[in-house]
């Protein structure tokens, strides 16, 4: 039988808020992270909304760029530092190309936040391992800074960041700060060195030998290109990390962000509302193209 109550209840409650309507937000600053990634600092023009906009690390917004429609972009700032939100965007398609040409003072549209955030509650009291590749550091930057701002709630933090080239290393401001903080191990590596590079060379999984972690007390958060996620998850499973404590995020083409448009179906799960954050335990029961 069709659940009539659900329909009647929703139809009769006339929707005063329109979930598809973006809120105007002004670019206050553009940080060039590398040749392909820029971080846009945004403030809602509605001052009340700007103060009250609440989100959690790992969530995303639908970003409207004039003429070019919308794209889902994860929030790279932390809710512990309110007043603006950061969106770190790699130039890839039409919309992001147009976005990269925009400057402070220009207006964009934002609706959201959407999606299931990182499970910061189950991470409390545990050591944290963050593994990121390229633009994958954007959502992790949010949760790393969140954990730093919640002093004393989390154990030791290890951050591993892989880039293709030294000149591709993004979020340098953050990496510099994290490297100097006590209780944090922050290592970067590059696939291919360039003249002057004295750091680690090799994919991010070659850093395992340089860190000390105790898998039973540790939660791992992994975000990066599909190939990286695949190998990192495989190695973490080999180190006997519990699949419930290995967390990653998935990426899918999306149009609505609210579980209707059907684009982001991934083996029965909707990445927009059931994700984008998933534990390895959840992914194990699904057929994920990228992880096969």
């Amino acid at each position: 039988m069709i659940n009539r109550d659900l329909i009647t209840r929703n139809i009769n409650s006339r929707n005063t808020s329109n979930t598809y309507l973006p809120h105007p937000a002004v670019i206050t600053e553009v940080i060039t992270e590398n040749s392909q990634i820029k971080t846009f600092v945004l403030e809602f023009t509605d001052k009340t909304l700007n103060t009250n906009f609440s989100y959690e690390s790992g969530q995303f917004v639908m970003l409207s760029v004039p003429h070019h429609g919308e794209a889902p972009i994860s929030i790279s700032s932390t809710p512990t530092r309110p007043g603006n939100i950061h969106l770190s965007v790699r130039i890839a398609g039409r919309l992001t190309t147009a976005l990269h040409k925009m400057e402070p003072g220009m207006t964009l549209g934002i609706r959201g936040p959407y999606g299931r955030p990182f499970p910061v509650h189950i991470m409390e009291g545990r050591d944290l391992l963050f593994v990121a590749g390229g633009i994958g550091l954007a959502p992790l930057r949010s949760v790393i800074n969140y954990c730093l701002d919640r002093t004393g709630r989390y154990g030791t933090m290890t951050i591993l960041y892989g880039s293709r080239l030294p000149s591709d290393i993004a979020f340098r401001q953050d990496l510099d700060i994290w490297s100097t903080l006590p209780g944090i191990t922050c290592l970067t590596t590059v696939d291919t060195p360039e003249p002057g590079w004295t750091g680690h060379v090799g994919v991010v999984t070659t850093l395992w030998d340089h860190i000390q972690i105790s898998p039973s007390d540790c939660t791992a958060l992994v975000c990066g290109p599909p190939m990286m996620i695949k190998f990192v998850l495989r190695d973490l499973a080999g180190m006997s990390f519990s699949p419930d404590f290995v967390i990653t995020t998935m990426e899918r083409h999306m149009k609505c962000g609210v579980g209707l448009c059907g684009h982001c179906y991934m083996g029965g799960k909707l990445v927009c509302t059931d994700g984008p954050v998933f534990s390895m335990a959840e992914l194990k029961d699904m057929d994920i193209e990228e992880l096969r």
Partner: protein, 343 residues
């Protein structure tokens, strides 16, 4: 529930009265040949109810394309340029007459995910569905295998059934009552009308229960077992990925959103999209998680028959048979049912 008895002339009068204040749509035979499809009725142009369903589904009314989600100015001199605003929505009743029970049921099924969608719920509130129960079942009809019935009233405001040479109209909702009043004719069919209606249905040999509804069985099956079933390759092999099934299907509700700018005016529009197309899932990076035909065909059937029932209960199919009728390579969703149920 009230049941009214109507002569053919009373029905004509109802439609004529409704047309005075609301747009009324119904299936008619086109003047150009084989098309039997929805059209706006005018005085003198009455519905022609052929057996089965019209060519296009009822989603053209409740989930129309394009749907303007927002409008904006694209004039750079305008201080509010690119600030999106929702269009004004009219609270005008639209009447759709001659709706078959399968199409009517699709409206309720789509309302499960779409109940919170402001555009869909607004249209649902402002649309009245007047249905005709089915006397004939076409070779492509299979509503009883989806949880529906040829005499089902789910989603309808008024359900009309022919009995002998008169019509019995079940007034099912408040909206239906308003319509019956506005029709200004019809007599009370008497207290035993419902039992006479049921008896007549029984006598006609039309199915009285949807015992073949696969939803309860499919909900219980292991998702991965269905997903990894060996028959997907065989089902997908002849598919051309033309998308005809998804566009004709009353319960296919996936959409795309695009910005359209013409000179100084822009609008953000929503229109039907199809999971049969490779572009449906293509990332800007070039990565495509459903790049293979098999993955796309499987996604369509799994969404309808497993993902949807897991979330909402019933399967997302009403058995109208349009996809079977129009598929250029004769893919038959009934065979997919059989295959899935056998896993």
């Amino acid at each position: 529930m009230k049941i009214l008895k109507l002569e053919k002339s009373d029905l004509d009068k109802w439609l004529a009265e409704w047309m005075k204040s609301s747009p009324v749509y119904a299936p008619v035979q086109s003047g150009f040949g084989s098309f039997y499809d929805w059209a706006r009725l005018e005085q003198g142009r009455m519905p022609e109810l052929l057996p089965g369903v019209p060519k296009s589904s009822i989603k053209t009314f409740l989930f129309p394309q394009p749907e303007t989600l927002e409008e904006f100015s694209a004039d750079p001199a305008d201080p509010s340029a690119f600030i999106l605003k929702a269009p004004k929505t009219a609270e005008q009743l639209t009447i759709i007459a001659g709706v078959r029970p399968c199409d009517a049921r699709s409206v309720s099924l789509n309302a499960l995910p779409y109940a919170k969608d402001p555009y869909y719920s607004n249209r649902l509130r402002n649309t009245a569905l007047v249905g005709f129960t089915c006397e004939t079942q076409c070779s492509t009809c299979f509503c009883t295998r989806t949880g529906g019935l040829p005499t089902g009233t789910e989603g309808l405001d008024i359900a009309i059934t022919r009995m002998d040479n008169t019509f019995l109209a079940e007034i099912l909702t408040q909206k239906g009552e308003l319509l019956a009043e506005a029709g200004r004719t019809g007599t009370d069919a008497g207290g035993d009308a419902l039992s006479r209606l049921e008896q007549s249905r029984k006598n006609s040999g039309s199915p009285v229960s949807s015992a073949d509804d696969p939803a309860p069985i499919l909900r219980e099956k292991d998702l991965m077992a269905l997903y990894q079933a060996p028959f997907w390759q065989e089902i997908a092999e002849p598919c051309l990925n033309c998308g005809a099934c998804t566009f004709l299907c009353p319960t296919c509700y996936c959409f795309d959103i695009q910005d359209e700018v013409i000179r100084d005016r822009g609008r953000r529009i929503r229109y039907w999209d199809s999971c049969m197309f490779p572009l449906f899932t293509l990332h800007a990076s070039g990565h495509n998680p459903r790049g293979l035909k098999l993955q796309r065909v499987r996604n369509r059937f799994m969404h309808k028959l497993k993902y949807f029932p897991e979330r909402f209960g019933p399967i997302s199919c009403v058995g109208c048979g349009r996809c079977i009728r129009e598929c250029p390579v004769n893919i038959d969703i009934r065979e997919v049912y059989t295959d899935l149920l056998a896993i």
